[in-house]
Structures are given as structure tokens and as C-alpha cells.
Symmetry: none
Subunit: 196 residues, 4 copies
DNA sequence: GATGAATGAGTTTTCATTCAT
DNA sequence: AATGAATGAAAACTCATTCAT
């Protein structure tokens, strides 16, 4: 049959990725069907398999892409030679900014981990551990040189990451607060706490 | 929920709830099947319907129970007449303690919101808003009387809740840290931040 | 929904077996669909799974049942103490009779072996080797005591089995020849050949 | 297999035929996919259609080629003027030799008949009848002139053909027995039977 | 001639749900 | 209250086939 609609050629893969990101973000990996995804792309369900091996791969690709980008960029953002405090400030700024610009990827990478098959799961958890490691390392060095008040670097890192990552479950682009304001608010909270 | 009147085994209903909690916690609502649930309970899939109206109700029950308990208990835990700072400390203690004792309920109530049908979703979001309101209120009053350094009470509340709730995604009962230690660590973090 | 048509209860399994036998005989295992099978039984495709684990199991059951019956009956039919010649005559009589009464099972057991998964395949091949062994043993003993002119018992057995089993690819019940006539014709052929 | 570099034209068609023969022999017509076939040839599935009208044609070609060759060669092999006994010996020799040299074609021509569409099926069955006719004719004339002990020439012919054709389901080229030995064994069996 | 991407119909299988017993 | 067997809808995935490039 002649092709009726939708996108062709190398653009299709990009369209699939985009549609999958939006759909999974809204409904969750388990809840979406490949029919819905195909509809969103404008092709038949079977045609997805010209670009993708199976449903699982779609999720893994999305999460894996996100994690490798995240890791690559955090290294750029946190200057190696700086003091732990300076590094922490940079980390917070980077994390908040990145997370509100890529809410969907971040959200999926956190909430759909459970839907990854064992092998894929291990890969992503490994990458995530490396990312967490960046913050743990900063906190640990700050604790050792006395510039930061941190006994349990790991727990503190988890706490900080949870706080910052939580932003993407309520943040709406174009909301009342700018990215910079969010950075400031969270940086202050983390650095100095709430007690006046 | 909705057990048929005259049923002689409230134990079955309890077993269903327990099994559902464990299963949904591990795999997610969309990913589990009623066959798995029935297996875990030791009955046939059809028999579930003697106790439950449908799959959705199982989730809603679990989450609703959790939310009402949470609300009831937070009121007990946070003394009405105390200062904002004292209330905040109590809130943190309560929240952490509650969350690590009921990791599964908490996790589900957060991660499976998306799987609730519109009506059910609205109910739960309403309850959650009330719970968040408790903290927002504390922070706002603390900001007003100058005892807490908080401009944006709502955002600060979300940040604090995200941090604290995050505990249940990594906490293992019987781990290196006791509940009290976790309370202390997080309270210090929130109250005074990390800068030495 | 109320059940509309078809068979219920323990009879369904029997109906499935029967319909599967007829369908696979006519079209082959790979060529039939579970929709066709369900139609023939008078149930919905999904309902098959109340009785059967999957498509492969249907085939295996059919073939396995046939092979075990065949083995059990051949032992009855061939008297242990008799001379090789007498045993051979009995074997031929049994084999021909059995094969024309159960053409479908026999045909499937031979032609659909290829469609069995590795494990199932091995089981059936094992049973078949045991059946072939009965004839090989007769021929070998006949060759040793000089009553039969057989050098290569295995090859001769395969040749005889091929000849006899071939009957079910052309035999029509109620055709010109009775079962007894077929037995006689083939027995003569095997025992004395065609040269006058 | 990888396509021989830069090979075009009739070589591809030959490669398709060869790969199809091997694949269908191993797995059966219904069980193979054109993707597997294309892989084996080293081209894309769509490219098959430059050489072949559809899947069915591939099977028909294979079987039809085989049957016409078989018919052409059997006429060469069986001398028209010879006695029925001499002709029978030649027929056996020819059939066995041909079948063990072209096991795959023979096997397919027998086992995949069922997968031919009505029209194609009729053509092949017609050719097969002509081949069977050669043997039936020999037996009938032998029965009439008293040189062969055959009442039912058709049934005897089917029996003999089944026996001989059966060889290709177990014969392995390079096995313990040479083609000549197989010819001798089977000729003796058919001509004189097994009774000493 | 070959390719990559598309189609549409179909496959086996799963699942929530129903209901007579 | 439990069961076994049924339904009907849908899921992921496959496949022969087409066709613009």
C-alpha cells in the first residue's frame, strides 16, 4: 500500500523517541501501548519494529541517553580544582537547571527504573551510582576539610538529590518562578537550612 | 473494601490487602495481574471479586487508607500551640518515622498516583494537599514571626517533603542507621544546612 | 457474560483434543491458528488457555499420548516367547491395524515431529526409538537363528516401518480393501517379496 | 550467507533456491519466514520480490523442478523393452540412488505437498501420479506374465515407494552404508522378502 | 536490482471480569 | 466464599508484501 501519512526515513526514529518520552511521562511505561505510540507518531504499530527491537528497548534508550548526557554534563559543570563548597554550589545549580529543562527524561529515569529488565536495570543503576558519586565525593571532601558539616556523606547526598529531583514533579515551565530563583531557593535551603 | 455482607472471613480481605501492598510495591500497579495477586493470597482470581469490586479499588483502598492514617497521625504528632520551630521538628520526626515504618504504603501512594482513575485521583490529591498544608502552614508562620528563614513556604515545603520522602526509596529496615539517627541527620540538614 | 455455546466443564478438554487432531491432520501444526481451533471447539481463543498452556503443548500431548499408547499396545500384541517369524507376523498385523484405525495420530506423530521444541522432541524421539527397537530386535534374532534373511536389522526395520506407515497417507476408511486384506498384502510383501 | 561480492542476476535466484531448499528441509515451509530466507541469501526481504512472485512460488518451483527432473530421469533409467523384473530392478536402483543424492528435494516434495495452493497442488499430484504410474505399470505387467507375485499392483507400488522413499528421512551422506549397499539391501527386501 | 520503511492483517497470549455451580 | 470455565477486548509482536528511492 502507499504510505498514507506520518513521517518517513530517519526522522521516524526521532519522532518515536519524542512521542515515547511524552507518553511515558504522562502515563507510565506499563500503561502505554504501542498502538498509542504508533498513533502519536502517525504510523502503524507494526512499523515501529522497523526502528526498535521491542517495547523495552524504547524505554532503555530513553533512560540510557538521559543518564549518559547527565553524566557528561555534570563533569563539565563542576570544576575539578574548586573547593568543596564551590563545587557543591555548582552541582546544585547544574542539577536544578538540568532537571527543570528535561523534566520528562528525569522523571522517567526515576519512576520507570522498575520497568527495566534485569540487565538494563543494572546498567542504569550503575550510571546513576556514578552520578550520585559525584555529589557524595564533594560532601565527603567538604566534611574532611571542615568546610561542610556532613557526617554521613552518602545519606546527605541522597537527601539532597531527593530534594532537588523532586522539583520536576511539580515544576511547570513558565510558572511563577524562574529557573534562577529555584536555584537560589534550593541552594540556600541546602547550604544554610531554614533556621533564621 | 466492599466485602460482601455476611462474609465469614475478614482474614481473606486482610490477606489480599497485604499481598497487594507487597506486590504493587515491588512491581507497580500496572505491572501486577490479579492472577499474581490471587496466587499470593492462595485463592483463584475469580474469588478476589468476593472481596473487592475491581483492580482499581484495591489500589485506591491502599492509598486512601494510608492517606487518612497519615493525616490523622500528623495532627496528633504536631502540637497545635507550639512554636513553628518546635512544630517543624516534630513534623520532621513524625514524617521520617512514619515513612520508614510504612515504606510500602508511602512509596505506592507517591508512585502509583498516576494509575488512579480521575475521581479517585482527585480524592487522594485532596488529602495530600491537606498533608502538605500542615507543613506549608508551619513554614509560613515561622517565616512571618521571623523564627524561620523562609520566603517561599510552598516551595520550601515541597523541597523538604521530597527530601524526607526520598528516604523510603533507599532505606532498608535493619540497616546501618537507626530511625533516630535518620531523624537527627535530616532534621539537622533541614534546620541548619550543610555549611559549617 | 453468559456462556453462549460450545462445550463446558471437563468435556472441553476432550473437544479441544479432538478438534486439534482433525485440524492438525488436515493442515499441519504450523498452518493452523488457535482461532480456528477455538472456533472448531465453539469457544473463544482465550478460553483455550483454561485447558492448555500453549499451542506447543497441544501438539505434544497429542503425539505423546499416541506414542505411549502405541508402545503399550505393541507389547500386548507381540508375544514374548514366540519365534521371530511369528513375532514378525504379529508385529505387522498390529502395526497395520493400529495405523489404519488411528491414521490421524500416526500421521501427525510422523509429520509434525519437526514442530516440537527441543525438549519435547527428544522425549518423542526416545519413545519412537523404543518402538523401532521392538522390530529391530525381532529381525536381529531372526537373523541370528537363521529363520529370517536379514543382515542389517536396523535398515530392514526402517524399510519395513516406512512401508507400513506409508499406508496411512493414502488409506481411506471404507475403501475397497478391508484391514485384513491390507494386512495380508503387506505381510506377504515383507515376508516373501514380489518375485514369483 | 554473505552475497558473493557484486554478484547480480541469475546467481541471486540460484542462491535463493539453494537457501530455500535447505531452510524448508530443516524447518518446513510454514515455519520459515522470508526474513530468514533473505538473511540466508544475504539480501533484504523486499529484494526477494525482484526474483520471486511470492512465498508460495518458491515452494512450487522447488517441488516442480524436482518432479519434472525425476520423471525425465526415470524414463532414461528404466529401459522400455526389458522384462518387468529387469525393469523393477532398474527402478529400485534409480529411485534409491536419486533419493539419497537429493534428499532435501525429495523430502520437501513429500512433506510440503499440503502447503501448496489448490492449483499448484493439483499440478504436483498429477506429476507424482505419473511417476507412481511407472512402477504400477511394471508391477502390473509382471503380475500378468507371472514373473512377479503381485495381485494389487497399486497397493504394492505404494508400499514399495513408501519403503524406498523412507530412506531419505534417516540417511546421512557419508554414513556407514554406501549407496550401492543400500540399493542391494532394498532390492533384496523387495524382491525376495525376509523369510529365509 | 537492491534497499529501507511502510502497511494491514494476523498470531499467540494475557488479562480483568463474570457467573453457574 | 470459593471455584473453574468462560468471555471479549486488547496486548506485543510477526509476517508477507509493496513501493519510492
Amino acid at each position: 500500500m502507499a504510505r498514507t501519512a506520518g513521517s518517513h526515513g530517519p526522522k521516524t526514529m526521532e519522532a518515536i523517541r519524542k512521542a515515547a518520552l511524552a507518553l511515558i511521562y504522562r502515563k507510565g511505561y506499563e500503561a502505554i501501548t504501542l498502538r498509542q505510540l504508533a498513533d502519536a507518531v502517525g504510523i502503524q504499530p507494526g512499523s515501529l519494529y522497523n526502528h526498535v527491537r521491542n517495547k523495552q528497548d524504547i524505554l532503555f534508550d530513553l533512560v540510557h541517553d538521559h543518564m549518559t548526557t547527565l553524566l557528561a554534563e555534570v563533569e563539565q559543570a563542576v570544576p575539578a580544582g574548586a573547593t568543596p563548597l564551590a563545587q557543591l554550589e555548582r552541582f546544585i545549580t547544574f542539577h536544578v537547571t538540568y532537571h527543570i529543562t528535561r523534566r520528562e527524561q528525569v522523571f522517567i529515569a526515576n519512576s520507570e527504573l522498575r520497568s527495566l529488565e534485569a540487565g538494563n536495570h543494572a546498567v542504569i543503576v550503575g550510571l546513576r551510582k556514578r552520578y550520585e558519586g559525584v555529589l557524595i565525593d564533594i560532601l565527603r571532601r567538604g566534611g574532611q576539610d571542615g568546610s561542610l558539616r556532613v557526617d554521613e556523606a552518602t545519606i546527605a547526598a541522597y537527601a539532597i538529590l531527593s530534594m532537588l529531583t523532586g522539583i520536576c514533579s511539580w515544576y511547570q515551565p513558565g510558572g511563577r518562578k524562574s529557573a534562577e530563583q529555584l536555584v537560589t531557593l534550593h541552594r540556600d535551603l541546602i547550604l544554610r537550612g531554614v533556621v533564621a
